[in-house]
Symmetry: C2
Amino acid sequence: MISVVILGAGNVATHLYKAFKASDNVVIKQWYNRHLERIRSYSNEVDISDDISQLVEADVYIIAVSDDAIAPLSEQLPFENRFVVHTSGSVSAYDLDKKNRRGVFYPLQTFSKAAKVDFSQVPICLETLRKTDYMPLKRLAICISDITKRVNSDQRAALHLAAVFVNNFTNQLYRVAHEITESQGAEFDLLKPLILETAQKVQDHSPFMSQTGPAKRKDKKTIKKHLKLLDNAQHKEIYKLLTASIQHTHGR
Amino acid sequence: MISVVILGAGNVATHLYKAFKASDNVVIKQWYNRHLERIRSYSNEVDISDDISQLVEADVYIIAVSDDAIAPLSEQLPFENRFVVHTSGSVSAYDLDKKNRRGVFYPLQTFSKAAKVDFSQVPICLETLRKTDYMPLKRLAICISDITKRVNSDQRAALHLAAVFVNNFTNQLYRVAHEITESQGAEFDLLKPLILETAQKVQDHSPFMSQTGPAKRKDKKTIKKHLKLLDNAQHKEIYKLLTASIQHTHGR
Ligand SMILES: NC(=O)c1ccc[n+]([C@@H]2O[C@H](COP(=O)([O-])OP(=O)(O)OC[C@H]3O[C@@H](n4cnc5c(N)ncnc54)[C@H](OP(=O)(O)O)[C@@H]3O)[C@@H](O)[C@H]2O)c1
Ligand SMILES: NC(=O)c1ccc[n+]([C@@H]2O[C@H](COP(=O)([O-])OP(=O)(O)OC[C@H]3O[C@@H](n4cnc5c(N)ncnc54)[C@H](OP(=O)(O)O)[C@@H]3O)[C@@H](O)[C@H]2O)c1
């Protein structure tokens, strides 16, 4: 049995709470948040608190608060030499106060309150400053996920940056597509199967092998036609830059 | 019963052949390709031919050949006043020889020989130059797909252009993510659940509502950190441009 205390009540904290709760091998000793009302509805299931001086003892303390709040919150912890991790992709483990043993428990997925998450399919990237803390953290991670991976700080930073490309930037391409279709009264919905298939394809094939289309084919006629169709200057720039990027990847 | 002749033996022609074959309401009268060997393995199931002068009669002729070959092939057709469609997203219906009745049967999906396709979930965009040809084409389309849509030329052009954004350009973002992770010895595979979730999310929510991340939050610290991490100049440009695009979409 591994015991944890969760700190924070946002998207990640809430999904972690549910995943830990569902595991037979984890006991949630306490759930802390600075505003108690956000977790009050769980008070019959778990010990809740908004008083940091009253934190109980546990094997692992998981700080799942906004990036900027991680360091100050870790300083307020009223104990020493316990094991404290945060859940951020971009904050250093060294930002945690050094009076405690430190690590990172970074779930590489996008969370929002509304959407359900199958945590068993969420990769959890693990990092510990002390070698001996790694196995306990790993044991905790495998209680809720089938995909756990030790990473170093550079790798975690690279993954977080890459996640911005495949999530935020990809979603913005969907948005541009939405604007393009709407501008002609065409239905964005018609693109949804293609959006899914594009994501499906790279589950089994590399993005390099999956590439198709006018940029890769160097189909100048179609590229010219497309640039003429785009009346939004920023969309034109995106088209040109990503076409150049594809052609750079796939040689001259 | 609707009768068709398929012309061409590439990705689209082959998937269309299989989808029509599986329908009880379509009979494939003939499959034509300039090189017979590509379809010879089907000769026990269907009448095959490489002789354009020997095309048999059918309700609909579907030209699924490379964009540039559509016009010349349609000129070679040895009959008049029959119903001929092509399958391209970017070629005009007027590029078909006007001796026949003309239309477009554009399946909005990415096809490759290897990958299986559930045609019932492929949106088919329909266009006919004559109003009276529309219903027969629609009847054919609903034999193989649950999603059919009448579009005009501008709408089809917009959909084709938008498809480049959500398919080719998105795939290139996956590729960039692949390069970023590899450069640090991190695993691209860890991003795959996020890639899928990103595509899943816009099935039910608009891309506008789905956006998250440092660009939308205007988190300058993280953006600066990311730009510093990117050593590839083109990746930096993509990061800057898509960040600007997100910030433009989500206001100042
Ligand atoms: N969302 C994702 O997709 C995702 C994915 C992977 C990792 N992460 C990381 O997980 C962490 C939490 O993210 P999130 O999305 O769950 O955030 P969130 O939904 O915005 O929730 C933030 C939480 O932090 C608390 N908080 C903010 N400022 C605080 C302060 N000064 N002192 C104490 N608590 C404070 C908030 O408390 P109140 O409830 O009292 O306001 C809230 O519970 C971040 O490090 C983030 O980078 C997020
Ligand atoms: N692939 C997709 O994802 C996709 C999606 C939607 C629409 N489309 C459209 O569907 C059409 C076919 O695309 P595809 O991907 O199936 O192409 P493909 O796999 O490259 O196959 C092209 C076919 O065209 C034939 N062809 C090429 N030049 C010809 C010529 N001069 N005369 C006669 N036949 C010729 C080829 O004949 P041989 O076999 O003899 O070489 C081959 O059968 C195009 O208009 C494309 O824009 C494609």
